[in-house]
């Protein structure tokens, strides 16, 4: 499948990245060559393969329900570009 400029603009919108009109052509070219490379996967029949959900074969570890964090408003806001 090939990606056209409209599709790329739509995806950029989803990703909240504004795309410079002057760069759309080269971006389209790059992305298409990458997707051509990626689409080698279509050679493989994976109908009967379970997708991998996690590389680790263990269950999710949980923590106790304790208040151990928060009250660090200053730290949270320290790097803020604009704050009240």
């Amino acid at each position: 499948m090939s990606l056209d400029k409209e599709k790329i603009k739509h995806v950029a919108k989803l990703a909240r990245i504004s795309v410079d009109e002057a760069k759309v052509d080269s971006l389209t070219k790059d992305l298409n060559s990458i997707f051509k490379f990626i689409e080698q996967l279509n050679e493989l029949n994976t109908d009967k393969v379970e997708p991998l959900t996690s590389i680790l074969n263990q269950s999710l570890r949980s923590r106790k329900d304790e208040i151990s964090d928060g009250k660090i408003r200053e730290k949270i806001l320290k790097n803020s570009p604009k704050k009240k």
Binding site: K13, T53, S59
Partner: protein, 489 residues
């Protein structure tokens, strides 16, 4: 009780329409700390005080799940008679918003922790089962504050990351009343379980409402609209009412209904389309690689099941069997766990049926009047039981009991003490009464003769005299009996 008939339909010129409703309820999980971080969940703190580096999505921060939130979801699932999934997966739901620091919400998409279940509603037309599609765990978002400054939006992340249970019903609801009953039932179940406080003012219970209409008898569903984030039952009912009528009007005009998300404007009492965002629904779900699949041991589920409290449906049955209540009384008394606890404590020490009558009558009226809950009732269950017993034993009359009740509310005193100190005890000793009545009759021989000659309305006069002499404490029934007997003789 005679059963009413279900009759919520909308009549159009082209036919009679049925309203189909499904709810996605967001219930805040009761826990000390957040779903994936150790910050507090307490309501009402100063902005951004209960925020960790995880909640505010600093680089390199990672989520670790709160075991209690998992257990709360399982408990709720069990309370909804639902299938608990031993394997569930946390996914990222990706979208940008100022109050969503990570740029994604951790939720469960393909593999929720709880599968299908059901909830029973008691409607005037009989009981109705509402199917539950699923329940999953997810993070709450923060709050954007738009009204502090016209040029900027401020963000309070205290709520960001608090655990929510999204409970999705099947489209089985058919009227605003059923929605009311459903939400209340869910809330009751969760309060019994202690998994959600159900406080709608504080936002711990909110819902997205899916509404569609179809002609009565149609098998297929109509196109539905989703009304987002309604936070009171009243508003849900108003929104459904408005939305269903809007849809019927469109259909009557031969127009189509757009599947869309709408907002309920509480001021104008109408729903309106949310600004259409062409990409709003591409959430790009995928399993969160910072987390592993959640595998629940069957033993944990079994243990939680064993430790579950008695739930309203079972309790109601038991109240009917054990205490001889009727279905209506049992329903009212199990509607809140605290009420049922209070009732049981009273019932254990007094007459079960009379206790129910007095709780649902005078006690509720008083609490309602004073804006109190049963848990902060000025009358303890033990004192209430004594009051009920005093009535049952005939120690005081119903009329006197109301007076004692008033004094108990004011003073919090024990009824025995009040009755004694105020001399309100009912005279129920037949010998004492007979003595008293003989005294009255001998003093009023002329009236006795008149009565015997046929002037029967003098009976009231004699009763009055007895009451006067006893200071109002004579047992009225007994007084009547003895008076009749002696006047005959």
């Amino acid at each position: 009780m005679s059963k009413e008939k279900f009759d919520y339909f909308i009549n159009g010129e082209k036919g009679k329409y049925e309203v189909v409703i499904g709810l996605e309820v967001h219930a805040q999980v009761l826990s000390n700390s957040k779903l994936f971080s150790g910050s507090s969940t307490k309501f009402g703190a100063d902005p951004n005080k209960q925020v960790s580096l995880i909640d505010s999505a600093f680089p390199g921060m990672l989520p670790v799940i709160n075991e209690e939130c998992v257990k709360q979801a399982v408990r709720t699932g069990l309370g909804l008679n639902a299938k608990i999934n031993n394997y569930s997966v946390f996914d990222r739901k990706n979208y940008f918003y100022a109050d969503l620091p990570q740029g994604y919400q951790i939720s469960q998409y393909k593999n929720p922790i709880v599968g299908e279940g059901k909830v029973l509603l008691d409607m005037p037309y009989g009981s109705k089962e509402i199917g539950i599609e699923r329940l999953h765990l997810e993070q709450d978002a923060g709050k954007s504050i738009h009204d502090m400054d016209p040029s900027s939006t401020y963000v309070d992340l205290n709520r960001s990351g608090i655990a929510l249970m999204e409970i999705v019903s099947k489209p089985h609801l058919r009227s605003p009343d059923e929605v009311n009953a459903y939400i209340k039932k869910l809330r009751t179940i969760m309060r019994y379980l202690g998994t959600c406080d159900g406080n709608m003012q504080e936002g711990s219970l909110r819902a997205d409402v899916n509404v569609s209409v179809r002609k009565v008898g149609d098998k297929n569903f109509g196109t539905r609209c989703e009304i987002k984030n309604v936070n009171s039952i009243k508003f849900m009912q108003m929104a459904i009412e408005y939305e269903a009528n809007r849809q019927v009007e469109l259909l009557e005009d031969g127009k189509e209904i757009d599947q869309e998300t709408r907002l309920f404007d509480t001021k104008k009492n109408e729903t309106r389309s949310m600004r259409s965002k062409e990409d709003a629904h591409d959430y790009r779900y995928f399993p969160d690689p910072d987390l592993l699949p959640l595998r629940l041991e069957q033993k944990l589920i079994d243990d939680l099941k064993k430790s579950l409290p008695e739930l309203p449906d079972n309790k109601k049955e038991r109240f009917i069997q054990e205490y001889g209540l009727n279905s209506y009384e049992a329903n009212v008394l199990v509607s809140e766990k605290e009420i049922s606890d209070y009732y049981e404590e009273v019932a254990k020490l007094s007459d079960k049926k009379l206790a129910a009558t007095w709780i649902m009558g005078d006690l509720f009226a008083m609490l309602n009047d004073k804006g109190l809950n049963i848990s902060n009732s000025p009358i303890s269950a033990k004192n209430f039981a004594e009051l009920v017993q005093s009535i049952k034993s005939g120690e005081i009359s119903g009329r006197i009991a109301k007076e004692v009740f008033e004094i108990m509310v004011e003073s919090g005193d024990n009824p025995k003490k009040i009755i004694e100190s105020k001399g309100m005890k009912q005279q129920s000793d037949p010998k004492e009464l007979e003595k008293m009545i003989n005294e009255i009759l001998s003093k009023n021989k002329d009236k006795v003769d008149q009565y015997k000659a046929g002037k029967e309305k003098l009976f009231g006069f004699f009763v009055g005299q007895v009451m006067k002499l006893s200071g109002g404490n004579a047992n009225p029934q007994l007084t009547n009996e003895i008076l009749k007997k002696l006047l005959k003789g």
